[in-house]
Amino acid sequence: MSSRLKKALRGLAFAALALAAVPSVFSAAAEEAKQQYFPLATFRVGAYASSGIPVWAGEIDYFRYINEVEGGINGVKLFWDECETEWEVEKGVECYERVKAGKDGSPVPIFLPHGDPISKALTEKTVADKIPQITIAYGRTESIDGRVFPYSFPVLFSFWSEASSVINHIAEIEGGKEKLKGLKIATVYHDSPYGKETQVPLDFLAKTYGFENIQIPVPHPGNEQSAQWAKIRQLKPDYVFLRGWGVMTPVAIKTAAKTGFPVDHIIGGIWSGSEEDVRPAGAVGKGYKAVTPFPAGADFEILKKLKANIVDKGLSDLKDPKSFGSVYYNSGVIEAIISVEAIRKAQSKFGNRPVTGEEAQWGLENLKLDEARLKEIGADGLVQPLELSIKDHEGGGAGKILQWDGEKWNIVSNGWVRSDRELLLPLIYERAAAYAKEKGITPRPDVSN
């Protein structure tokens, strides 16, 4: 054996030993570290900065509240730094690679990709690195199945649940699910993988309930939609489900008004349901509805606590006080609550210290936020009751319906509008199994059962 080959083999052996030692090194480091690192992949500049800025403010304000008022999670304070992604996939992945090793001996418990394409690009990397990614209201719907997607958590409200909740809301308006039969429901969607995500469940629900399912694509960015709304005028649907992104939403509302379609018969999806989406539409946006897992409003108990302890004391990350209690701000608060509770749950098993990604995965898969716990946090009404498991990384599956009054959103649904998850889950598991087959993944056993 040549000396060069020997050297190479020795190098490989060292590398293998180093890799094998990583989890134990982290466990040791995590025990030594006093604080929990929580990196934030933000987008404060670029095309989507207007939505990113309030999201991160909500997130950071809640973390500060945990540190300042509660003294950390069981005494373990959070610390974070930001990495700017501009909502671009390559920058998001680069940020993940930069932070995944942790900081100052403190490991990364959870990564928040904040972008559908970024989360998809990280699906396999997070498995290799054993770092859970939480993707509330975006990401692959089939990643609900944690047997196939052990480190992806589309917690609360997947796109399939979004579509189903909208149909159930229409059923409530019409007087029951049997009244859906014969209705025409058009989905005007962003022509992208995100936009197409609801086609399968809507097709299934249309066959189940007997409504006509019309699909109308809008090319990115959606700043001109006269043809699509001329088609709506021709087809005369009873309701329009609007699945936009960015500028597509206000243009859709304005064009709908131009073509005489009643705006209160348009129900926006999650990403067509923020103040930033509807405000540019001006007066014609009055009456527009949207489904969301992020109810707007500042009257929730936790929001009052944030106002008193963080905002009024000048500790808030929010530059524009008008955004306090907005959909995006509250989405950041909700995401932070779930992250903190998952870490707290992991600590209950692994000890009150910074936890690793693998430990946080256990925390997430055993997370239960019932009405009592949500009340303790002050998040009842803001966060839906939630119970996650290996087989169910979504856990919730309900949304509230908001309606724009020209100035602000008002919650108009009677509590949470549940989706038909029991109908849809078998289809979701089928898709997850197909993914596993395609990628050669052996699904984990569901030990929670």
Binding site: V45, S50, V218, P219, S226, V247, P250, K254, E276, R279
Partner: protein
């Protein structure tokens, strides 16, 4: 038939909106041979400056005038600090400079005026008018009239004023133009200033349509096929190109979209543009470059 007509009219009116952006490109290309990649950023900057002033309590006219002054000042700064140093450089170098400029303008806009989404109300009720069996947008009609007025004034400016003729001379041959006493920096300042005015008009109309937000920069994507069809040097061509693109993409979306199983309007505009490139490389009204070989 009425559905076809309504789709066609909607497309034509949308096309006029594309033309508004395309005219800004034509102006700078016509006068300096530069494809100004920063035009979309200028549209964003102008609209954002106007809406920021309005939200600060300024009246419509003062806000408009101050924004115009800002755009002209920006044009002077661009000439002084970017273009003057590049006189005599290749077209590609100048193009790359405008590419860099677009990022600087976007960055400055977000730095000084924030990244929020703003509503822009121009006070025009967008209630549709019924013309026979079809609905026509009042707002789009006003945009069409504005674009028409811009085309007429700019055509008069380029064809019948001393400055306009000097600008055309520079576009044909900058060295020859300078040798007969035409001052290139002064004229560049003027043309970038006028392009700033066009960006302001486009920014206001597009901003009122979709809100003033970062994605205003993306409206240039719609202007490119318009330029290819109308020609990079013809202001009237920008209007005709806009009408052709608007109508064809709208009709294609309706009549081809279902057949092809998705939205077609974005790429179909480029298919039309490519077809024109093959038949008339200089566009319908562009100047055909004749070189002695």
């Amino acid at each position: 038939m009425s559905f076809f007509l309504e789709t066609l009219v909607g497309g034509l009116l949308a096309g006029v909106m594309y033309s508004l952006v395309a005219i800004g490109f034509v102006l700078i290309y016509k006068a300096s041979g530069i494809f100004n990649f920063a035009q979309g950023s200028m549209v964003l900057f102008a609209a954002l400056a106007f809406v920021t002033l309005r939200e600060a309590g300024w009246g419509f006219v003062p806000a408009l005038l101050v924004t115009l002054v800002v755009m002209v000042a920006g044009a002077i700064a661009i000439e002084r600090f970017v273009l003057r140093a590049l006189i005599g450089q290749s077209d590609l170098t100048l193009f790359m400079a405008t590419l860099g400029l677009s990022f600087v303008i976007e960055g400055l806009a977000q730095l000084f005026m924030g990244a929020s989404v703003h509503e822009l109300n121009l006070g025009i009720d967008d209630i549709p008018i019924e013309v026979g069996p079809i609905l026509v947008s009042q707002f789009d009609l006003l945009a069409a009239v504005t674009a028409g007025a811009l085309v007429i004034s700019l055509s008069l400016f380029f064809n019948f004023t001393r400055i306009g003729i000097s600008l055309r001379a520079i576009a044909d041959d900058p060295l020859a133009a300078q040798s007969i006493g035409i001052r290139l920096p002064t004229l560049w300042r003027i043309v970038w200033g006028v392009a700033g005015l066009v960006a302001l008009v486009a920014g206001l109309l597009w901003g009122a349509r979709q809100g003033v937000q970062f994605s205003l920069t993306l409206v240039v994507l719609k202007a490119l096929p318009v330029l290819i069809i109308g020609g990079f040097t013809s202001i009237g061509g920008a209007i005709v190109g806009g009408l052709l693109i608007g109508a064809s993409e709208s009709l294609a979306e309706i009549y081809l979209g279902d057949l092809l199983g998705g939205s077609v309007s974005t790429w179909f505009a480029y298919v039309v543009a490519l077809a024109f490139l093959l038949i008339r490389p200089a566009g319908l009204f562009g100047d055909r470059a004749i070189e002695r070989v």
